[in-house]
Symmetry: C2
Subunit: 326 residues, 2 copies
């Protein structure tokens, strides 16, 4: 596959999608202050970010509201309270998990909502349900994506079938999601090549959502970008579940489009991210995440290991290894 | 250039070079306890590491011995005190900096020394001096490498000339060194391709020494390895100057040769690296290093910024940016 773009130029089709509140919300149960979210919105505007994801459209009947901040549910009014009429170039996004959203009740007509983009997260065996949400939201007037999670666990022929199905839908963008942070550049380039073939055939765009378990989130993001992937997920200081995501500050350092500015992100880290860390919110690359990533496992055991403040890495590795074998 | 090897197989020509004491010594002035060094030696033996670098052969007349631990100087006797007769498969290495070593006085005949490999670190304009050391140590019976530092600052035609000169010498291995951690995978692949052409022409091997300023040390190491680079520098927990190096635990997670074992490294981190961190020794990826890396600058300002416990990243970025411009 031919390289798209050069290191000294830029591609105007690139879109940076800030997922700090949505993926970061997974480590603090979405308990962000309004001040934090408002400052992040202002930061994204100044930094030239293309999309800001506010959180999930989770079904209130399925989750106890007292256990989560409001960005687990993303009421239109809560978003409006932050962004006003959002008369800016920054588009707004929410994520809907297949099986965890009451999309027919909770999405208004696009004309009456501050949301621009609905991203549907799906495992490969629930693609038909994901497509139902996509078709519905598309009719309401939203842009849509399908994010195929845990792709490192899927086999090639299932993935081919899934891409064919998605290619024939009205979805705008298909995401490669390295949920377990287990993929090496060589592997993610092979995947990107497959997704980009589908994109070419069906006139879709391809996105990438990487995790940093093996310190490869940034590398995998820019490697696939170079091949033609154009929707790039990132979070400030890599805030996100477990080892976190591709750090926005690294990504903006790489992108050459003069619309992007790294300084507002640096200021946000200084003023707001450092405070979160001091308050005890924990995320980012660490040995336990490397181990689950290396073994292509869900990070939940590593999250628990970290929460328990354990450091018996070798014992933990034996446990993870045995769990999967024989 | 054709890919060498597959993800599921392994190449027996791969050598992992542990630089924890040598590059890590730059953050604690080589003040390691004998216990730490001995345990690292045992760990490397159990982990299947190929070379262990003990430190520098620095000239005692140039440095105040009271300010540095003994691994700044690497007397043969100090190494012998750790390794005994080293009747093992683990080879031992030291580094000599051009202009900072009294090599004619300080290297014994290989037959009388525990050292196997002498690595000569040189800027591109001091290659003739580096070659003088290489020729001398080669005659004494040592394996040798030349590590061309700060290659991200060199222009292509100087580098071509340097590689031609080195190719014609008796050196065994030539290292790509991303001293500032500024190179993206795309760039380091291009460099590797150039070095590997020289290696093919002159029957040399190529090594890689990466820094983690942009969280690319591991990615850049495995990307060039895939192309045919075979000497891979790493340090436990990435311990090394500034943002540190390619972490051994990530690298061993990638390598498929059954001789490599990650568990001893995990145990060493638990018992010895965590203690160093608790004692206040600081290294590893952080925002200031990302900024010097991104701007292709020496990390010294970032090291100072970190030592001063500053967090005004945006102000620091303006300072770095202005320093280099107009």
């Amino acid at each position: 596959m031919k390289k798209k773009g050069e290191l000294v130029s830029f591609r105007p089709d690139i879109k940076v999608v800030d997922c700090t509140i949505r993926d970061g919300g997974l480590v603090n149960s979405f308990m962000f202050t309004d001040d934090f979210v408002r400052e992040l919105y202002r930061t994204n505007l100044r930094a030239g970010i293309d999309y800001m994801e506010f959180g999930y459209k989770a079904d209130r009947d399925m989750f106890d509201k007292s256990e989560f901040g409001k960005w687990k549910f993303c009421d239109d009014q809560d978003i409006l309270d932050i962004v006003g009429d959002n008369d800016t170039g920054l588009k707004l996004s929410v994520m809907a998990d297949v099986g965890r959203t009451n999309f027919k009740r909770d999405f208004a007509e696009k004309a009456n909502s501050p949301i621009d983009l609905v991203r549907v997260a799906s495992y490969i065996h629930t693609i038909p349900s994901a497509l139902e949400i996509v078709e519905y939201c598309n009719k309401l007037g939203y842009e849509t994506t399908i994010n195929i999670m845990a792709v490192s666990k899927s086999n090639d022929s299932d993935l081919d079938d899934a891409l064919e199905l998605i290619g024939n839908s009205c979805v705008d963008t298909i995401y490669i999601v390295d949920s377990y942070g287990s993929l090496y550049p060589e592997q993610i380039r092979r995947l990107a090549s497959k997704y980009l073939e589908c994109a070419e055939k069906y006139n879709k765009k391809i996105g990438i959502h990487a995790h940093n378990n093996q310190q490869l989130a940034f590398a995998n993001t820019i490697e696939t970008l170079t091949m033609g992937v154009s929707y790039l997920d990132s979070t400030v200081s890599s805030m996100g579940r477990g080892a976190g995501n591709c750090p926005t500050e690294l990504l903006l350092g790489f992108l050459k489009n003069p619309k992007y500015h790294i300084t507002p992100i640096l200021e946000f880290i200084e003023k707001h991210i450092n405070m979160l860390r001091e308050e005890g919110v924990v995320w980012g690359y660490d040995i336990p995440y490397l181990l689950t990533g290396r073994l292509n496992q869900h990070p939940r055991d590593a999250i628990q290991f970290t929460a328990d403040k354990r450091t018996d890495y070798a014992e933990f590795y034996r446990y993870l290894y045995d769990k999967d074998s024989f």
